[in-house]
Symmetry: C2
Subunit: 338 residues, 2 copies
């Protein structure tokens, strides 16, 4: 069996995460037991939720264990199989982690799924037609539940979730405004991703300025907000929400490194009779087939053309991950192994 380079979580961040929290190592790939499948990973997915799991704090998911392979989504190709449903050469999506190979129990629910690469590129199953896409779908469809003509806002607009959100929102005939970092991302959001408008948060670094930009971009107020970031952007959005608005809380990345970030004026939730709801897409697996079908259709129709930031080789994963947390990526952040 082949040798298996892998990246472990070596120690937990004190404040900001650094490359020294990770360790590159190599292990043997065990021989397959009956029912197991050997997958060679072509791409690793890097996602903001992983930062939360690096902390040893009570959260929805167990913390990433120390000294073990960083967990995460992967796409790849079956190299060997002792499971009747998987054949060498099959394209698969799974949770193989930050390593070159994984050995997977073919029957473990949700751990390995064959995918069609004739119409959708393999890497998209980690982004637009994968967990981030379904995340956008769930927050939009199940929490924000917009009606035609609503004004919707999403932060981290050019990321994997934001891109899918824009396409899904347009399919529902909503006006969709993004928030992203820098003029290049904002131009791309409008030109390529179908946003009606995109606000550069770097040009609006405080609540008052951001609230002003939101007022200009959303003259009819905001009916739905998809939150990937937290912090002062959420405070500014709250000032511009319409009565009966809905906020889907998906990420609060701004608060991962240290003290919790407060919400300045929660009374606005009452004053405007808002619904604010947190969710984790992996707890709603029953919705995935419906969401993936819509996302796959949008990709095949050319209405969802996600951008990818691709780092080369396993050793580049930690730096690419830390860069993504700072918004250095542009679109879905991947690591290409093959």
């Amino acid at each position: 069996m082949p040798r298996n380079p892998q990246i472990l979580l070596d120690n937990r961040p004190q404040g900001e995460a650094t490359v020294d929290n990770f360790r590159l190592t190599e292990a043997d790939t065990p021989a397959l037991a009956p029912g197991q499948v050997l997958v060679r990973h072509h791409y690793l997915s890097l996602d903001p939720y992983m930062r939360g799991r690096m902390n040893d704090s009570k959260s929805y998911a167990a913390p990433q264990p120390l000294g073990q392979v960083m967990q995460g989504g992967t796409v790849g190709v079956v190299e060997e199989s002792r499971h009747p449903r998987f054949q060498p050469g099959d394209s698969v999506v799974g949770m193989g982690g930050w390593q070159t190979y994984s050995v997977v129990d073919g029957d473990a629910p949700g751990m390995l799924r064959k995918v069609d690469t004739a119409h959708v590129p393999l890497s998209y199953y980690l982004g637009a037609v994968g967990m981030p896409g379904v995340t956008a779908w769930y927050g939009l469809d199940q929490i924000i539940a917009p009606k035609e003509g609503d004004t919707l806002v999403v932060s981290a607009a050019t990321g994997a979730v934001g891109s899918a959100f824009a396409a899904l929102a347009r399919a529902r005939k909503c006006r969709v405004v993004g928030i992203a970092g820098g003029p290049e991302k904002c131009a791309y959001a409008v030109k390529e991703l179908g946003f009606d408008h995109c606000i550069d948060y770097r040009a609006h670094p405080d609540v008052k300025s951001m609230a002003g930009a939101l007022k200009a971009a959303c003259p009819d107020g905001i009916d739905g907000y998809f939150e990937n970031v937290g912090g002062y952007i959420l405070d500014a959005v709250l000032l511009r929400m319409n009565a009966f608005g809905r906020i889907a809380l998906c990420g609060m990345i701004a608060g991962y490194d240290g003290q919790p970030l407060p919400m300045a004026n929660p009374a606005l939730i009452l004053i405007n009779r808002l619904k604010v709801q947190g969710f984790i897409v992996s707890e709603h697996m029953g919705m995935w087939p419906k969401a993936l079908a819509e996302l796959s259709d949008l990709v095949q129709l050319g209405k969802l053309r996600p951008r990818e930031s691709v780092a080369q080789g396993l050793a580049a994963a930690p730096e690419a991950f830390l860069g993504m947390l700072k918004g250095k990526n542009f679109g879905k952040q991947l690591v290409k192994l093959v």
Copy 2:
């Protein structure tokens, strides 16, 4: 026609509200036009929401206008009528304001409703079988939507809303824990109102201490919270909410006097996948008949025995109102005029 003593809002509070914000005056009662009804008020309702309306800030309701009679709920008896549906002697509930008489258009929707005083005391239509009762019902039934065995918490537990909440929660076979100010109110909450436990917030004046008290009172965590207060109590509750918990935001009285009170850690909404929803009961009039029917039944069965704090005479209204905002009342705060 009789002379009509009344209390106006004379000027707006700078920070804390004071008796000097109000002015007692007297007006003529106009002769009735066709379709109008003259009501003599027996009780005025004093409610926390009125404090919010004294500020000149953007909120769900227009601010209470300066120089006009303080608006509010009233129960009384028809003295004269030029409307076919109302007869002298009818008991009615309406929005007559802080005055002795009101002249009401009998056809104005929601402004005047005949009530049965054979089975429910007249004053209860301002409390347990009125707006506060329906408020408790809506937050519990439509937002918290508990299942049998859930642990529910309500602040301002011995107030009109809290009392009704306890009876409604018990009818749904939930464990219900109150938060109130002082040992006397807490003992009453448990002995008379049916709370399983009541926490004295004066003995727990900070987040950490309150969170500890909630942990002791709710060993299985909190599934639903009905918020009448805001501030540090909400922060403490957020620390003890179970996954998929629901928070109905009804009042944020703690923040009325000055700067908005922040929420310390909104990321908990995401971490525990909570739903936090604000509401105003007057926007859900379609639900009132169902809610009032259940509340009336609970009163008649002796399962909801609300307590009232009754101030005597119109001139006592401002002081009684300000005392209520500080929790000096015990149960529904009324002003008796007749």
